[in-house]
Subunit: 342 residues, 2 copies
């Protein structure tokens, strides 16, 4: 049987465990998988682009467990009452190829994206960072705020979005949780005094939501909204101001902020920082930029974590996804056995 | 909600509808999709190869509907009590990226593979074909026999497998259905007098289960077991005896029998035959060879057919795979709403 976590059970689990505990524990799984980065089978995700948006499959494997995520990105969805991003994911045993775990990943992707941001910022942002600027108040915003509080102790958030209702929603959601929110009047106002800047807008266009003149020394930029060919958020001049860290270069060069740069633009693979192979931040004035597009290993870590965390609980049900006849060469017997003819 | 067909419901549906009716109706869906081949987004499947076997994702889209299949191929599985091939598949709406249909595909892949074989043989085999030789009596064998009867009227099958138990299983399964079975003593004995030869063995090795001297004029060869790099079934000399038809050349050149040939070895894309763009069989003495590796569009057709065929029945259940908050920008509200803090 395959274990299945549907939306109802995922929501119940997140509410019961708490998103901050989850994103703290998930960071440990992420770090453990990033530390053994070289052991994974890695391919750029397989994307189907249409005028409406993109649908992607993101597989990876550590040769014991295989995992993949199905995910869409449709920037015009919210205007029509749909989620921009929906997703589900699967883990399977490599030794026999049987899927063992199926989970909704719309909520889980929001958690893993924010947990990945926090993991990277924990390594690259100035240790005395106190204030997070959020540009973009969509689905990802609250998860970012809580991931940064859970993993870096950040309690002060300055937020900007062109949609005032989205900012009001953010304020309504996180103020009761004890986060100090400032509604900014512009992107420039949001980043003024911020130690960390997260850009998380969803337009499928070459946008410039952050210009180079707004970026102060010592800041860590967490750029997560530029994640498709033709979809960027940063003034390309920003990429020359500091050190750019990425997940998986073959994918980021196509989808990330660095698609605006030459194909040999210097980047550091973040896993090398965790593994002690490359330097992270070297001084307090350095500008560090995480050009994050999301990579399959992050989903793999998130799925592994959920699978382990809910083992023995009632947050999943067993579903009958794999036909398993007594005689493996007699698949037909499954069908014929129910309908004898003669 | 997403409609979900589990193994139990798939088996119940196949038993109730009957595999022959299903494989006849499925051929109509396959033909309709092959006729509009050029409208599909096509990529070679994304394979993760390990010493145990392969796990693959096979996506495609006609830009209205997106589909993909997860499938494994583990030749040593039966010896350990597992299915060689297990699979499941998904359809999604392209306009918003939401998955609408999830189905087991272990049974369905067996049906679609046999239906594809029959569709191609219907176009390429001699119209007076009466006898099918089956080399390989594994999970696919009974489905082949029934697909050829349902679509071409074949009633006589000569079967050969190195495993006598597998042949006995085949005899036991299809004799009550009115198929005339001859247990052969060798591959040579099986193909003697046969009009159509299906090779469906599962070894993950360069095997030669059919040699050129056994191939008589006028025969149609349906080679479905060579479907991985390094996994072939035919003596390469056979490929020079007739005309080779394939599904999607970029995939077949890597995975099919023609991996034994130069990269410019002449092949005909089968969809062109159906669309009237290329010749199929031109005379009764011609040898036609379908070098079949399985392509994503076939799974797309099979999923579309099942989805349509079971609409309004109780062969599926609705599952909660996609989070859908009232305010699409308020995904966090789903979680927060259940756990108010403050």
């Amino acid at each position: 049987m395959t274990r299945f976590v549907d939306v109802h059970n995922m929501v119940r689990w997140v509410a019961d465990f708490g998103p901050e505990r989850i994103m703290r524990e998930m960071v440990a799984y992420l770090e453990s998988d990033f530390m053994r980065w070289e052991r994974f089978d890695k391919v750029p995700r397989v994307a189907t682009h249409t005028p409406f948006g993109v649908i992607e499959l993101m597989p990876t494997s550590d040769y014991e467990t295989y995992g993949f995520k199905y995910v869409n990105g449709h920037p015009s969805n919210p205007a029509r009452g749909f989620q921009t991003v929906t997703a589900f994911g699967v883990l399977a045993d490599v030794h026999n190829g049987y899927p063992t775990f199926l989970s909704e990943m719309t909520v889980l992707t929001a958690l893993r994206t924010a947990a990945t941001s926090a993991m990277v910022a924990k390594a690259l942002a100035r240790p005395d960072s106190e204030t997070l600027a959020l540009i973009g108040a969509g689905s990802q915003a609250e998860f970012q705020a809580l991931a940064f509080r859970a993993n870096l102790g950040i309690r002060s958030v300055r937020i900007w979005d062109t949609d005032p209702d989205a900012m009001a929603k953010f304020l309504r959601n996180v103020t009761p949780l004890g986060i100090d929110v400032t509604i900014a009047t512009s992107a420039a106002d949001a980043v003024a005094g911020a130690d960390i800047i997260t850009t998380c807008t969803a337009d499928k266009t070459q946008a410039t939501i952050l210009t180079a003149d707004l970026v102060r020394p010592g800041v860590h930029i967490n750029a997560i909204g530029g994640d498709c060919p033709g979809k960027t958020e940063l003034d390309p001049a920003i990429l020359d101001l500091g050190t750019v860290f990425v997940e998986y270069p073959p994918q980021t060069r196509i989808e990330g902020e660095i698609q605006q740069k030459a194909s040999d633009f210097a980047v550091t693979e973040f896993w090398e920082v965790l593994a002690g192979r490359s330097a992270g931040r070297t001084d307090a004035a350095q500008i560090t930029i995480f050009d994050s597009v999301g990579f399959a290993i992050e989903d793999f870590s998130a799925l592994r974590y959920v699978r382990d965390a809910i083992d023995g609980t009632d947050y999943y049900v067993d579903i009958d996804l794999v036909a398993n006849p007594d005689d493996p060469k007699n698949l037909f017997g499954l069908v014929g056995a129910l309908a004898p003819v003669g």
